[in-house]
Structure formats: C-alpha cells, structure tokens
C-alpha cells in the first residue's frame, strides 16, 4: 500500500507539472517539440503492448499510425466529421487492421514475424501513395480540419496552428492511455501477454489462448496508434504518405527498447528522450545523429534491459540489491 501511495503521489506531481508547463514556459517551439515527443510517447505506449508485453516484434507500426491519420482525414474531408468523433473510427479501423494483419502474420514467429510486419508497414505506405483517387497520392490529403472546442462565453474555438491546445490534447490523451495501459498490464490479460512473451508453450498449457491474445495485443496497439494518427492529422492539417516511413517504426521501437520492454513509464521516458534528443542536440548540427547513435550504443552496452526493464535473471527491481548473497 505504501508503494502504491508513493506512486500515486509521483503520478500526480507529473500530471500537475505537465499541465503547468505551458504557463511557465509558453515558448511555442519548446511546446511543439514536447508535443511531438508526447505524440511519440503515445505511439510507444501502443507498441509497448505488442512488443513489450506480448513479445511480438513489430517493424511496421507506423502503418497503424498512417491508417488512423488517413481514416480521420478522409472522414473529415468527405463527410465533415469533427475531430472528436472522427478519432473514434480512426482508432477502431487501425485496431481492426492490426487484428486483420495478425490473422495471417501470427502464424510465423520471431524474425519471420518482424519481416512480415515490416512488409505490412511498407505495403500500407505504398498503397496510400498509389491510391491517388482516394488518398491524393504523394501529395496526401490537404485541408483537414483542426479540432474545435466550445468554451463557455467564448464560443467555438478552433485549435488552429497554435501550440498550446495541441500540447494539452496530446498530454491528456497520452496520460489517459498510460493509465489504461498500466491497468491493462496488471490485469489477467496483461499477465497472459507477458506469459506468452516468456514461454508460449507453457502459457498455452496453463490455459492462455495464445492466438486470441496475440490478436488482442495487435488490436489494442493498433488502436492506440490510430488515435495518435488522428491527432497528428488534425494537428498538421495535412497527411502525406512519407510521414509514415520505416524510420518512424524503428524510432518508436527504439523508444520502447530504450525505456525497457514492457515498462510503461519506460516507454514514456524513452519517447520523451528520443523524441526530443534530436532537437536538443540541434546545436551540434551535423553531428547530432552521430551522438544519437552513440547514446543508443552506450545504452545497450551498459543497460541492455532498458531504463526500467527488469532482467529475467535478477531479482525484482525493488530488491535488486537487497538479497544478493
């Protein structure tokens, strides 16, 4: 109980700090960097369910992000769906595409699954590039509506291109999804996912329906990326296929691995670090990607389980130094 209360306090401090930040530092550039990093965090949370908990190596995660962005974009352009409603089908369609991909793809494991998902990511991006009559081809979708919010006394306010409202939108969404992920990871479903990651055969002999739960992980992870996609589309006002390349999938994977597979605070911290590091290192100019790579290598050398990962051979993290005899 003590630990639980400590954790609640820590979360509360984090949330208050996050909410107060734009008031303390209204620099739009900083806010924009942070918003992007938080959007990465949202993606990392979703991918963490698939790779971190269920242990399915997924290299085409950007595809779900793209599907969410295009779903909201098309619904908005053709039928004028507002963002708040459009984000729901965006999440659902991306989630369903995760399940649909899973049906054939989950017949293979490990490296082979990575190749199939990599292919999926590329196919989706290339499909959006070439289905010109629907997606606008390489030019993408233009003129997607920004979110609007009704504030008493001031009427309907368009988010426009300001930084602050998007910061709050992404911050609140990411926090809400993080809470859901924490709950999920401590539930029977979360435990069953980890069991599958640890030993699939033993899990199935204990009664865990492996295929069903893998599909569920893909669906949940896909839905979170779809939600992030809808936010991204509404923020940018345009979506083009080249926003969803392989590098994005790898970036999000790197965030999850850096934070520690399966760790939710790890996924968030990994995303905040890797999402803002290229910007923070900007004054190193052309050396910044070199430093970025170096950071990753040092990290893997010194702490391969990630910032918050637990290593399977050691004790639980809270006792790591207590009982080594």
């Amino acid at each position: 109980m003590e630990g639980f209360r400590n954790q609640t306090v820590r979360w509360a401090i984090g949330v208050i700090a996050a909410l107060a930040l734009p008031i303390l530092n209204p620099n739009p550039y900083h806010l924009d960097v942070l918003t992007n990093a938080l959007l990465y965090a949202l993606l990392a949370l979703g991918l963490n369910l698939i790779v971190g908990l269920a242990g399915l190596l997924h290299l085409g995660y950007a595809a779900f992000f793209a599907i969410g962005a295009y779903t909201y974009g098309l619904l908005n352009l053709h039928w004028h769906w507002p963002f708040w409603i459009g984000m729901i089908p965006a999440a659902i369609v991306a989630g369903l595409s995760g399940v649909c991909l899973g049906v054939p793809a989950l017949r293979v494991r490990g490296d082979y699954l990575a190749i199939v998902t990599l292919g999926f990511g590329e196919i989706v991006r290339i499909a959006f590039t070439n289905l010109e009559q629907w997606t606008g081809g390489p030019n993408g979708l233009l003129g997607i509506a920004h979110p609007k919010i009704w504030i008493p006394g001031r009427g309907l306010i368009d988010f426009g291109v300001a930084s602050m409202p998007y910061y709050y939108l992404v911050c609140i969404t990411t926090a809400a999804v993080a809470v859901v992920c924490v709950r999920l990871s401590r539930s029977r479903i979360g435990r069953a996912w980890v069991a599958i990651r640890e030993d699939e055969l033993a899990a199935s002999c204990m009664g865990v329906p492996v295929l069903q739960l893998k599909l569920l992980a893909q669906g949940c992870g896909g839905a979170i990326a779809g939600l992030a996609g809808a936010i991204f589309a509404s923020k940018q006002g345009t979506v083009t296929p080249d926003s969803f390349d392989f590098i994005l999938s790898v970036m999000v994977l790197a965030m999850v691995v850096l934070g520690g597979l399966g760790s939710i605070r790890g996924a968030i911290l990994g995303a905040l670090l890797l999402g803002s590091l290229p910007e923070l290192l900007r004054w190193f100019e052309q050396y910044r990607m070199l430093l970025f790579g170096l950071t990753m290598i040092v990290m893997m050398r010194l702490r391969p389980q990630g910032l918050f990962g637990r290593s399977s051979q050691g004790l639980a993290p809270d006792r790591a130094h207590a009982g080594s005899a």
């Binding site: 999920l184 029977r188 640890e198 051979q313 050691g314 004790l315």
Partner: protein, 263 residues
C-alpha cells in the same frame, strides 16, 4: 472408481521413429499413477499428446468427470480449460515474471474480466483479482514459497523452481495434474519434501499422473505404475509387482542371456 483419463491405442511417430506404439492406459479418479521407462521410451511424448502439445497420429485421449469427452485435436489451452495441467521436464517458468505472477497466470481460465473491465475501474474485476491473488498466495503457502512471492521466478534456486511450477499448474484447480519428472535435479532433502507435497495433494483428492526416473520417488507414492519401453506399454500394476516383473528388469538393465552360456 471411474476413469478420469483414458488413453486408447495412442500412436505417435517422428519420421521413422515410433515414439508411442498403440498405448492404452487409464487413470482413475483420486489415483496417483506413475509412468516409468528408460530414456526415449515415449513418456514425455505421451504427456505431450494428452496435453495437446503434440497431435497423435492415431488413437484417442478421453477425459472427464462423469461423461468422457475426446481431447484429440483440442489446443493445449482448451485442454487446460477441461481440467488437465502439467509441469515440464525442463522447468518452463515465466522467468521474467515474479513468483506470484507465475501462479496468477494459471488463474487466467478461472477468471473472466474482459478487455474493457481490465482497462477501466470495475468492481467485478477487482473482486476477481482479489480472489486470484488469494488463491495464488494460498498455493505459494502450500509449496513453501509464500515468503518469496515478489522475487523473479528465474532467480529462484532450481528446487524451488520445480515447486513453483507445481503451484502454477495447480492454480487453475485442475482435476488431473501431470508431473513430468518432478524430482529430476533435486537433492535428497528436496525429493523428500516433494514426496510430502504429492502425498498432501493426494490427500486433498487430486489425481496425479507422474513421469519419474527415481524409483525411491515413484514407488512409495504411486498406487499403480505403467511401464513404457520403445513406445510400447510393457507392464502395468501395483509398484511391488511391476518392480519384480522380468520384462521391466530387462528393459532397465538389459538381458542376461550372455552370462553363463559357456561352462
């Protein structure tokens, strides 16, 4: 006593090797049955066929309290749902999970919270979770691991890993427990403790089917012993009689035909 598990004319081949050859046996309710035989006799293959890990080429496995249902063709998780759980010859714990979490995974089939009630606050899910935690802690108590519930399973000493695996298999409240060489790799004291644990489970009415090499383990606890050799059942009966059966001695020690041939 009515039969709980019936294995009928089970055959399984791996390429040219016949790992199980027309094996028929049954386990009755409340019984402790030992399955012995030399290395490669097909003991683990039989367990794998019963638990759905392997599909038999021929024959049938039936199981049930009361009406018997065919298990052939069911997936391992469906068979666990029916009430058969197992341990593994080479311990297969979820080593990156805590001791408690390992046991909790076994309660998956006895709990029902869906995706939505796992994500959002739900009184039903919380009640269920408390039940699962209590059950898991009770079982850890039984196997003597309650004090180490938060340690990582992979960090436990081997003997305790074997006990944890038994607790995990028991957490779904199975009707039949399959133990694949539970004493392998244990020292004498640990073997003794294991014997006591199995006795205790037997006292609670659990039906156990175990593979074991160590005769000092299998003989005292088994009501009945089945012997496999080269995939065939060569003997079956009470431990005492089986031990004296010449075919069993031959399978274990080889024949003595070359001795005393020449004066």
């Amino acid at each position: 006593m009515p039969a709980l598990l019936e294995v009928e004319r089970l055959t399984r081949r791996f390429g040219g090797v016949v790992a199980l050859d027309d094996v028929t046996l049954s386990v009755e309710q409340g019984e402790t049955v030992g399955l012995i035989g030399p290395n490669g006799a097909g003991k683990t293959t039989l367990f794998n066929c019963v638990t759905g890990v392997l599909r038999p080429d021929d024959g049938e496995v039936r199981f049930g309290r009361g009406p018997m249902e065919s298990l052939t063709g069911l997936a391992p998780h469906d068979i666990a749902q029916c009430g058969i759980t197992r341990t593994f010859q080479n311990v297969r714990l979820f080593s990156g999970m805590s001791v408690l979490e390992n046991v909790l995974v076994g309660t998956y089939i006895r709990t029902h919270a869906g995706l939505i009630s796992s994500m959002l606050p739900s009184a039903e899910a919380r009640r269920e979770e408390r039940w699962a935690q209590d059950r898991a802690m009770g079982l850890l108590e039984l196997v003597g691991l309650a004090g180490r519930s938060h340690e990582m399973a992979g960090a436990l000493p081997f003997g305790l890993q074997r006990r944890l695996e038994i607790a995990r298999a028991l957490s779904s409240d199975p009707a039949l427990l399959l133990l694949d060489e539970p004493a392998a790799g244990l020292n004498a004291a640990e073997k003794q403790a294991l014997l006591q644990l199995i006795e205790q489970l037997k006292g609670q009415g659990l039906t156990t089917f175990l593979i074991e090499h160590d005769m000092r383990v299998v003989m005292p606890i088994s009501d009945r012993v089945v012997v496999l050799d080269y995939g065939k059942k060569i003997a079956e009966g009470p431990p005492k009689l089986v031990q004296e059966n010449p075919r069993v001695i031959e399978a274990y020690l080889g024949t003595s035909t070359t001795v005393n041939r020449e004066p």
